[in-house]
C-alpha cells in the first residue's frame, strides 16, 4: 500500500521528537446567538497536549464545549483565537487545501453512527471514499484495502453491499471506524462514539478501539459524558464546564481524587451497577446555563462551596499533584488535603 505520509516526513520527525501528537493552547471559540446579545462561549482558554499513542478523554455535560474542541482540533470549526497543532502542523492557520490533504492523518468518528453515513453510499463506497480521496489505490488494490479494513473492524465482508439503514447501530459505527481508519491516520477524534449504542455493543466497540490503538499506535481524543467509558479507555482525562477546562490529569487519579467540585459532582452522579456502591448522597442543584457568565468562576452558579472570592475571577488551572491540575481557588489552599468526606 502506498503511504500517504511520505511526502512530508521531515515535519513528522520533528513532531515525533516532541512526542506530542496534539497540542492545544489558549483556544477560544464563541458562537454568536441569533439575538446577538448573549453569545455562547463554547471554548475559553482551553489548552492541553496529547502524546503519541495515548488517549485523552474529555468529559463534560451538554454545553461544556467538548465537541467544539474536538471539531476545532480537526479544523472543522474555525477558532476565534488560540493555537492548535496536530502532528506538528498548525491547524489554526492552515490553508483549506492543506488541511484537506492532512485529513488522511487525522480523522473523526461521530456520535450518531447512522447519521454520519451518506444514506446513498453502501458500506463499500463509504469505506472506499477516503482512499479515493487521499491515495492512488484503485481497482483490485482498492478492493483489497477495503476488505482488509472491514476485517480490521470485525465486519463481515458480506455486508459490503448493504446500505446504512440495513445495518445495526454497532455495525454502522464499525463502518464509521473503518472509514476513519482507511488512510491510516495517526490521530483519531472519537466524539461520543458509543453514546447511542446498547451497552453490550458499546463494550465491543470500545474493545475494538483499544485493540486498534495498540495495533496501529493511534492517538485518541475521546469525547464522552460517560465516566465508565472514559475510565475504560483513557490514560488522562480533561473535565470541561461551560467552555472551560476545569480539571485535567491521569484518569484514575482524577476520578478517585477529584480536585474540582464539578468533577466531584460528575462522579457523584454516576450510578454503579453494583447495588453496594452507592452514589454520592448530595445531588448538585441547578442546570448548566450556557449564557450565564458572571466574570467569576464558571461554576459559581451551581457550586456548593462558592465563596465571595469565586465571583472575582476565573481561577487558572493550578497543579494539585504532579500532572493533575484543577481550576478552583480551593486547590492551592488545600492542595494535598482531601476535602471530600467519605467520597471514595
Amino acid at each position: 500500500m502506498s503511504d500517504p505520509r511520505n511526502h512530508d516526513a521531515s515535519q513528522d520527525t520533528a513532531a515525533v521528537d516532541n512526542a506530542v501528537a496534539i497540542a492545544v493552547e489558549g483556544l477560544n471559540k464563541t458562537f454568536p446567538t441569533r439575538r446577538g446579545v448573549l453569545d455562547v462561549v463554547a471554548a475559553e482558554d482551553v489548552g492541553f497536549t496529547v502524546p503519541y499513542g495515548r488517549t485523552l478523554g474529555i468529559v463534560g455535560e451538554s454545553g461544556s464545549g467538548k465537541s467544539t474542541v474536538a471539531r476545532c482540533i480537526l479544523g472543522l470549526t474555525p477558532v476565534d483565537s488560540g493555537r492548535i497543532e496536530v502532528l506538528g502542523r498548525s491547524i489554526t492557520d492552515a490553508p483549506a487545501k492543506a488541511l484537506r490533504s492532512w485529513r488522511s492523518e487525522m480523522q473523526i468518528v461521530f456520535q450518531e453512527p447512522y447519521e454520519s453515513l451518506n444514506p446513498r453510499y453502501h458500506v463499500w463506497e463509504a469505506v472506499a471514499e477516503p482512499l479515493l480521496l487521499h491515495t492512488d489505490l484503485r481497482g483490485t488494490d482498492l478492493a483489497r484495502r477495503v476488505h482488509e479494513l472491514l476485517e480490521q473492524v470485525a465486519l463481515s465482508p458480506d455486508l459490503a453491499g448493504r446500505y446504512p439503514h440495513e445495518l445495526s447501530g454497532g455495525q454502522q459505527q464499525r463502518v464509521n471506524i473503518a472509514r476513519a481508519l482507511a488512510t491510516s491516520p495517526r490521530v483519531l477524534i472519537l466524539d461520543e462514539p458509543t453514546a447511542s449504542l446498547d451497552v453490550s455493543v458499546q463494550e465491543g466497540v470500545l474493545r475494538l478501539l483499544l485493540r486498534l490503538q495498540r495495533e496501529l499506535n493511534l492517538t485518541y481524543v475521546l469525547i464522552s459524558h460517560d465516566l465508565k467509558a472514559i475510565r475504560a479507555v483513557c490514560e488522562r482525562v480533561a473535565v470541561m464546564y461551560l467552555g472551560r477546562l476545569v480539571e485535567i490529569g491521569p484518569t484514575d487519579e482524577v476520578l478517585s481524587n477529584p480536585k474540582h467540585p464539578y468533577t466531584e459532582f460528575l462522579i457523584g452522579a454516576e450510578l454503579s451497577v453494583d447495588p453496594d456502591v452507592a452514589p454520592a448522597a448530595s445531588v448538585v442543584r441547578g442546570e448548566v446555563s450556557t449564557t450565564e457568565r458572571t466574570g467569576g468562576c464558571v461554576f459559581t452558579g451551581r457550586c456548593p462551596l462558592v465563596t465571595s472570592a469565586c465571583h472575582k475571577a476565573q481561577p487558572a488551572l493550578t497543579e494539585a499533584t504532579p500532572g493533575h491540575d484543577a481550576a478552583c481557588i480551593l486547590v492551592k489552599s488545600e492542595s494535598s488535603a482531601s476535602r471530600r468526606p467519605g467520597a471514595d
Partner: protein
C-alpha cells in the same frame, strides 16, 4: 402483603407489518408491588418499551395482544374500550417518556396543557385547577411555579421540562407511574436529579413505579425489583440485589459485565503497568 399494583401475565404481542407478522413479546410476566420501584431493563429490541405500551393500551399500528392479561389493582385492562383506556391513562396510571420536550405539546403553555389533563379527568373549577397545577409543580421541585406554568416547552431546559412532564403525570393522583427511559438524553447531573425526584415522589405519594431503562445503574441504585428482558422475553426477574449480585441467567451476567466496562478498565490498567 397487599395485592400488587400492577400484574402482567403471559403477555404476547405481535405486530403485523409489511413483512408479515412479527412476534415482539412472548409470554412476558411482571409484578409491580405497591409502593415499590420495579425496573424493566433490556437493550434495543428487547421488548421493554412494547411491554409498557401494552400496559397502557398504546401499541403501535399493527400491534395486537394475542394472549395474556394486564391487571391494574385487580382490574383487567386488556379488552377495555378506547374511552375506558383513556380514562385509565392519566387517572390511574401516570406516564413519563424519554425526551420530555417532545412529550409536551409545543404550541401551548405548561399550565394550559396541565389544565387540559385536569379537565379530562377531574371535575374542578378554574381556581381549583390552577391551585392543583401549582401544587404539583411545587411537588416536583419547581420553585418559581408561576413563571414555569406560563412557559412554553421550548423555553424550559431538559431537566425542567421533565419535571413538568412528571408533574403532569401526577395531576390526578395515579397509583402507578410508568417511566419509559425518563432520563435518557439528559446530562448525568440532571439524570441524578430526576431519579432522586422520582424516588422522593415514590415514598411521598406511595407511588408504585415501573421504570423502563437500558441502564443497569439506575436499576441498581433505585429499584426494589427488576425484570431483565431479552428478545421479547423476561429472562430473569426478582429482587434487585439478588438479580444483580448473583445473576442466574447468562444474558443478565453479560449485561452486568458490559455495563460497567470493568474488564476494559482492568485491561487498560494492566497494559499501563507493562
Amino acid at each position: 402483603m397487599t395485592a400488587p399494583a400492577l400484574v402482567v401475565r403471559d403477555l404476547s404481542v405481535e405486530i403485523t407489518g409489511r413483512d408479515g407478522v412479527t412476534p415482539v413479546l412472548d409470554g412476558v410476566g411482571l409484578e409491580l408491588r405497591r409502593g415499590r420501584m420495579h425496573g424493566l431493563v433490556g437493550e434495543t429490541g428487547s421488548g421493554k418499551s412494547m411491554t409498557a405500551r401494552s400496559v397502557i393500551g398504546l401499541l403501535p399500528p399493527g400491534g395486537r395482544v394475542t394472549a395474556g392479561s394486564v391487571q391494574l389493582g385487580g382490574r383487567e385492562l386488556l379488552g377495555l374500550d378506547a374511552d375506558e383506556l383513556r380514562e385509565m391513562r392519566g387517572a390511574s396510571i401516570g406516564m413519563v417518556f424519554q425526551n420530555p420536550r417532545t412529550a409536551l405539546y409545543p404550541m401551548i403553555t405548561i399550565e394550559t396543557q396541565m389544565a387540559n389533563v385536569l379537565k379530562a379527568h377531574l371535575d374542578l373549577d378554574r381556581r381549583g385547577r390552577a391551585a392543583r397545577i401549582r401544587e404539583r409543580l411545587r411537588l416536583v421541585g419547581i420553585d418559581d411555579v408561576d413563571r414555569i406554568a406560563r412557559s412554553y416547552p421550548h423555553e424550559l431546559s431538559g431537566g425542567l421540562a421533565q419535571r413538568a412532564v412528571i408533574a403532569t403525570a401526577l395531576l390526578c393522583d395515579p397509583d402507578v407511574l410508568i417511566a419509559d427511559e425518563p432520563t435518557t438524553g439528559l446530562d448525568a447531573t440532571i439524570q441524578r436529579q430526576i431519579l432522586e425526584l422520582i424516588a422522593f415522589l415514590q415514598s411521598e405519594l406511595s407511588l408504585s413505579v415501573l421504570i423502563i431503562t437500558h441502564d443497569l445503574g439506575i436499576v441498581a441504585q433505585y429499584c426494589d425489583t427488576v425484570s431483565v428482558m431479552h428478545d421479547g422475553r423476561v429472562v430473569e426477574d426478582g429482587d434487585m440485589r439478588q438479580v444483580l449480585l448473583s445473576p442466574q441467567h447468562d444474558y443478565t451476567g453479560r449485561l452486568i459485565a458490559a455495563s460497567d466496562l470493568r474488564g476494559l478498565h482492568a485491561q487498560r490498567v494492566q497494559d499501563a503497568r507493562r
